[in-house]
Amino acid sequence: MAAGPHGLKRPVTGRESKPTNAGAGYRGPMDVLDRYEPLVDDVGAFRAACERPLPSVVRVNTIKTTVERARAALAAEDVEFEAAAWHPGLLRLAEAQPGTNWPYVHGWLHGQEEVSAVPATVLDPAPGERVWDACAAPGSKTTQLAALMEDTGRLVATDSNLGRISALRSNAERLGVTNVAVTHEDARNHSLKPFAGAGYDRALVDVPCSCEGTIRKNPDALEEWTYEHVRGIAGVQKGILRRALQVTREGGTVVYSTCTFAPEENEAVLDHALAEEPCELLDVDLPLESVPGVTAWTDEARGVDRTFDSSVQKARRIYPQHNDTGGFFLAKFEVIG
């Protein structure tokens, strides 16, 4: 589609045609998706995609094997798969048990949702660089970054939750990652002290969010949704993105990503960073179908009526119906000072 979905009034179509769960009033978690219908072109396709389960996908871990060898190992075990058109190392499995085969046991494969492999690809770190993964656990994107860096340079992986750090470390070790240093801290206050003050060439800011985009993987994702949480988490997201922009060198790259549709957690966070830090947004050339970020957002019921810096259109929104994946949001910054 050519332009961003700027029609912000609630469309008449869609509201009546969608299935109702429990009559009048709040109809359960899927009701949360109502507020995003003004942003999407094809509401019917959006709602239908959100209700379909996701295919099981594994990423080939090139630290320990090659795409060819991993594919051969799966084929030898009669595990049926189909490679994603945009990424030869992302394999959609016919049956949803990625952990029960020999190549998985050897750390050649890692279960990872297809769309979650996009941000590391866009950050595109090179071997030998210094990279920060600000919200790293449980490590799918961290280990993908390590593989793109050919397990060289330094990858600093931060998380605020010790239990999740345990999962991160386990995944990193299973996949044979040796270039990672794991830190336990609030990413908003990320300290460079353990590394003698060295900053980064690139940073991935894949923040905690309200996760509507994971509804296909986790149908309970919206059970706990509240607007207060959206507002609260948006404050955290702004703090983490600003810290990433501060610790990345001039000319360096920062990728911001979420799995939410909420503009409060997406374009509004970009808008804040553009105003507060020396940075600019870059065009993103995605191999998947997507639409631009939105420059305005209204949620009348909650008194929201915002416009954003026009450059947030360079960000990309991936809706579930676009590529038969989860939902995703992604933006790429260059640090300019």
Partner: protein, 170 residues
């Protein structure tokens, strides 16, 4: 350099015994010698890795270097348990670096590899040294190192950690 072992901090291994300031801390030279002498893994395999200790005897391999010491939650991967009579490589080290090994490698057929992965001990003939062995099998047309076993008294004892054990069935 720190004079004691600190369980919350990574300290780089001294290059040689002459550089050692913490009693019983293994040296880089000793770690390289262990992998070379026991398994025939050339020291060049670790040329781009530094070795660190956190917690008594737990050795981590890190790609590249960092200023010593480092106070973080993880630094590279755990590769080796030292400060005991018989040093023991981790399953992760076996999988990541073990394909370069030429000695004390036990090559299993598929049924035996399955039992090993499931954590079972099994009686097997082996005319080499007793102790910790690297366990391999064929995968996708070439040998691939699967983990670490302990061979004693005609028996291969699986050392696959509980969390990594799998029953892949028949």
């Amino acid at each position: 350099m720190a004079e004691t072992n600190d369980s919350h901090r990574f300290d780089r291994l001294p290059a040689t015994a002459a550089d050692r300031t913490v009693a019983e801390r293994p040296t880089r030279a000793e770690v390289l010698a262990f992998f070379a002498d026991r398994f025939g893994i050339p020291s060049a395999v670790f040329a781009d890795h530094s070795f660190w200790e956190r917690g008594a005897g737990k050795i981590w391999a890190l790609a590249g270097e960092e200023p010593d010491p480092v106070e973080v939650e993880g630094l590279g991967m755990t590769v080796l348990r030292t400060r005991r009579e018989h040093w023991k490589p981790t399953l992760e080290a076996a999988q990541r670096f073990g394909d370069a090994a030429t000695a004390n490698v036990l090559h299993l057929g598929r049924p035996e590899a399955r039992a090993f992965l499931a954590g079972h001990d099994q009686e097997l003939a082996w005319d080499g040294d007793w102790g910790y062995l690297l366990v391999r099998h064929d995968l996708a047309g070439a040998p691939a190192t699967l983990g670490v076993g302990l061979y004693l008294h005609g028996e291969l004892r699986s050392q696959v950690p509980k969390g990594r054990q799998r029953d892949l069935g028949e």
